[in-house]
Symmetry: C2
């Protein structure tokens, strides 16, 4: 049986899944520059948005940050999201940023299909993550991810623009939003440009920890 196509993101209460991008020339995760004020602002806001995830046992395990970490609902949700995922699709910008910031053992541990315009050979990382570059559109990337997932689910990993493309194309079955108790005021909006006239949501689950609320919805055509 085929798996589901889903995404799972952390969103601020005012609807942002990432801070306002850093202006060009003051690049995030650039190896050769000091962090300027925009980078520090970005990192502070990103840390606040994602604060629920850093202390988790699963997060520490997955990024090889060491033993220990918190268990409980948030940890269970993070682990379940990882374990259901047989393959991911990803936009080019998320890959470019990640290429500079992921550890050598990238945190996916599955095949990842990068939607891009330029051909490139597969890039295999230690720990089971292989990046494949797909230059003929989001549907082909998804088809390849479905095959690679072997019956498990396919995650649209991000960024925001890629998630929205899949959502508006009717290719997402289900999604989860971890709502952070944070106001960012500006940044990348998850749903900016959503084709609301074609999408109906059905609430599936809502679970709260002391830190965040995990909301899950099934996507239906209208």
């Amino acid at each position: 049986m085929a798996g589901k196509v889903f995404f799972s993101v952390t969103m601020s209460l005012d609807g942002f899944i990432a801070p306002e991008p850093v202006p060009a020339g003051d690049e995030l995760f650039a190896a050769d520059t000091q962090d300027g004020p925009d980078v520090r602002r970005w990192m502070a806001q990103w840390s606040e948005l994602q604060a629920w995830a850093f202390p988790l046992r699963f997060f520490r395990e997955n990024l090889k940050l060491g033993e220990g970490g918190e268990e409980g609902l948030d940890n269970d949700v993070a682990r379940a999201t990882f374990e259901r995922t047989g393959a991911s699709v990803m936009g080019r910008r998320m890959f470019d940023l990640g290429e500079r910031s992921w550890p050598e053992e990238a945190p996916f541990h599955t095949p990842v299909f990068v939607v891009t315009h330029t051909k490139r050979d597969p890039w295999e990382r230690p720990g089971g993550t292989t990046f494949h570059f797909v230059a003929d559109g989001i549907e082909h990337a998804l088809d390849q991810a479905r095959t690679a997932a072997g019956g498990r689910d396919v995650r649209v990993a991000g960024g925001g623009a890629t998630i929205l493309e899949y959502l508006n194309a009717g290719l997402v079955d289900e999604f989860s939003v971890t709502l952070s108790p944070v106001l960012l005021g500006a940044g990348t909006r998850l749903f900016d440009g959503v084709d609301a006239s074609r999408i109906r949501l059905e609430p599936v689950r809502s679970e709260s920890s002391p830190r965040v609320t995990h909301l899950t919805y099934t996507v239906h055509p209208r």
Copy 2:
């Protein structure tokens, strides 16, 4: 002991508390025109956003729509919001819209202080709602509401711009968002223009019914 200042709104998952306004000339709740397509679109979106509230016993009771209605968490939340409120403050646009749409027995049943620029005598409605018009700013309106609330809480009833003015001025102690499983795509954003650098949120409570999730936060200065 003084009560709290709070607001409580229903928000779509993409952050809107009201649909895109109807263009001038095709007015909402105008007595003398047929509803045009923009009004029908507005009403349909509003109904979808607020769908959780209409079947509630409290909602039916408060608007004198008749006996019966659903009980349970959503009803308890709606009733508790009403019962904690000793007085409300409201923006001029919300009042103007409400003046055309509330039943004669307006649904507040307490004093309401309308922030406006034009003086007007108090307007008393049957059932305990009296509208007072305050022309010297949001703080004076709040002061009068605090006095009138007699120890109960003061609700910033809306609309979005007025809520944001109070929030950015540091005058809100706590707020609740009822998150509806709806994407509107456009409309009035609750947090558009929020001064995120000065506000820190502390999650207080998150409760879910099969329809919606009720989130409550305490507001702290940063």
